[in-house]
């Protein structure tokens, strides 16, 4: 695969990643956010496969497979399971209106594109728009975490944010050492497990969500 074709494909995948991120921010129902984050992970796996064919780095194939299995299938399934287990019929509870969150996410996207242009040579070395796209995914994920009241949606935000970091790391380094990538993925799995257990336990003992835990009573 030629350099230009690689740049074009990474650019296109970046645009689709941004689209899934917009869907996550705009999702009014938790199921939609989960499906969107699953689609996003699928695109990340696709990007890994594209980079693998372009660079001939076989580690990236492993990464693509693991990402597909863990982040695109297993984690969304876990989220889905929790939703059913907790019997959530409520819609997502935003702290500020979703329209305001959407506006903020546009600001983030534009700012990350604008700011990375000043990086000049660094950005030249990276395939396509991967750097600004990755940064905006990460920051928008943080935005989702900050503006939602329920723990589950915050988990979705965390996964999206992690996807952004992963995408940037992959594109910047053209494939990190396998051990680091596996470590990062294990981190995510562990975090998901801990959060799942915590959410379920908190729910079953005090019947409250994270938004209710902001004050300490003696």
């Amino acid at each position: 695969m030629s350099e230009e074709a690689l740049h074009a494909v990474i650019d296109d995948l970046g645009a689709l990643l941004l689209f899934t991120m917009i869907l996550i921010v705009a999702a009014g129902q938790i199921y939609r956010a989960i499906y969107a984050v699953s689609a996003q992970s699928l695109l990340i796996a696709l990007a890994a496969a594209v980079l693998a064919t372009a660079t001939g780095n076989t580690d990236l194939w492993v990464i693509a497979g693991v990402t597909l299995a863990v982040k695109a299938v297993a984690l969304p399934w876990v989220l889905h399971w929790i939703v059913q287990r907790m019997d959530i019929r409520r819609e997502i509870e935003p702290v500020i209106p979703i329209a305001a969150t959407l506006a903020l996410s546009v600001v983030i996207v534009v700012a990350s594109f604008q700011l990375t242009t000043s990086l000049g040579p660094v950005r030249q070395a990276i395939a396509g728009n991967a750097l600004p796209v990755g940064i905006s995914l990460t920051l928008t994920g943080v935005l989702v975490m900050a503006t939602r009241k329920t723990a589950l949606t915050q988990m979705v935000g965390l996964f999206a944010s992690e996807n952004g970091i992963f995408f940037t790391a992959m594109a910047v380094t053209q494939g990190m050492p396998l051990i680091i990538e596996i470590g990062v993925i294990l981190d995510v799995i562990l975090a998901a497990l801990v959060m799942t257990i915590l959410v379920l336990r908190v729910r079953s003992t005090v019947d409250a969500d994270v938004a209710d835990l902001d004050r300490l009573r003696g």
Partner: protein, 313 residues
């Protein structure tokens, strides 16, 4: 210059659009009926409705002014004129000075404004409600459409739709740049809103609580209503044609009758694909609450704005 469109061709395309407009509505309704396991009316039903309406007499509210009578003609004229700006069978700039995409959007906005004025003029409660709702939605829809047009216009350096389509050439998805994906996503979100379909509006209902567009047509009757209905058919096919001109290249720019026929065939295929999309969306989603519509259109707006950002930055 390749694929220049002389006056005769532009007029031919405009007529084609107006004639095919009801067919698209009929096809969408037929597909919807089949998806709901109904037999449904034939695809030619909208034509029969139109001929029936044009043969009927007119009844008018006592409170309506003289302007009310001329509203349907003005609306249909503005909409049909908008149809002239869309390339149908052949890409390329017209051979004579004609407006661009902004002119098209302006004419559609004019038609929308006149419809609302007519609804208010008749003095019916439903008309006023429909007009107020339509005018709430319109300023949310139009900027998004404009943004989508701009995001493709920046790449081509022109806002003339024929030249835009020609610039895109006959290459398919492979030649799409990153911004096109987001722009197309915004367009797909926008299509149901612009054509007055679920999840923004419901074209089949006459329940007062859910009407947007239909509410404004209640006071019209006979040929006037026929004009309004024809205008909404035309508006739908014009919007769909704009989407296909912006994102799918117009058919091969062959010369002569064969080229025109091939172009028309390709155009029919693209319109059919987008009509299937509309029918699927309409069958699988519920209508949004009115206060949820801004959020739905907000997604389109963000997509279009991001597409624009990707082009510029």
């Amino acid at each position: 210059m390749t694929g220049e469109r002389p006056l005769a061709l532009v007029l031919l395309e405009m007529t084609l659009l107006v004639l095919a407009g009801p067919l698209v509505t009929g096809a969408i309704q037929k597909m919807k009926a089949r998806l709901q396991c109904r037999q449904g009316a034939g695809v030619l039903q909208p034509y029969r409705d139109l001929t029936k309406l044009f043969r009927k007499g007119t009844v008018q509210a006592d409170t309506a002014s003289g302007l009310f009578r001329s509203i349907p003609v003005l609306v249909v004229a503005a909409t049909v004129a908008a149809g002239a700006f869309v390339p149908v069978v052949r890409a390329g700039p017209p051979a004579f000075p004609l407006g661009d995409a902004l002119m098209l959007l302006g004419l559609l906005a004019l038609a929308r404004f006149l419809t609302a004025v007519g609804a208010l003029d008749a003095g019916g409660a439903f008309g006023g409600m429909g007009a107020s709702r339509e005018m709430t939605i319109a300023p949310l829809v139009e900027p998004v459409l404009m943004m989508v047009v701009f995001s493709t216009a920046i790449a081509a350096g022109t806002t003339e739709l024929g030249a835009l389509a020609a610039h895109r050439g006959t290459s398919w998805l492979l030649a799409w740049s990153a911004a096109d994906f987001l722009g197309f996503a915004a367009m797909l979100l926008l299509l149901p809103a612009e054509t007055g379909r679920i999840p923004v509006d419901n074209p089949d209902t006459h329940l007062e609580l859910t009407m947007l567009h239909e509410g404004m047509l209640l006071e019209h009757s006979g040929p006037g209503l026929g004009c309004m209905v024809l205008a909404s058919h035309t508006r739908q096919i014009v919007i769909v044609a704009v989407a296909s001109a912006l994102f799918f290249p117009v058919g091969p720019a062959g010369a002569g009758v064969v080229g025109v026929l091939v172009g028309a065939g390709a155009f029919a295929g693209k319109i059919l694909a987008l009509a299937i999309y509309l029918a699927l969306v309409e069958s699988s989603y519920a209508k949004l609450r009115l206060f949820r519509v801004p959020q739905y259109l907000g997604v389109g707006f963000v997509c279009a704005l991001t597409a624009l950002a990707l082009r510029i930055l």
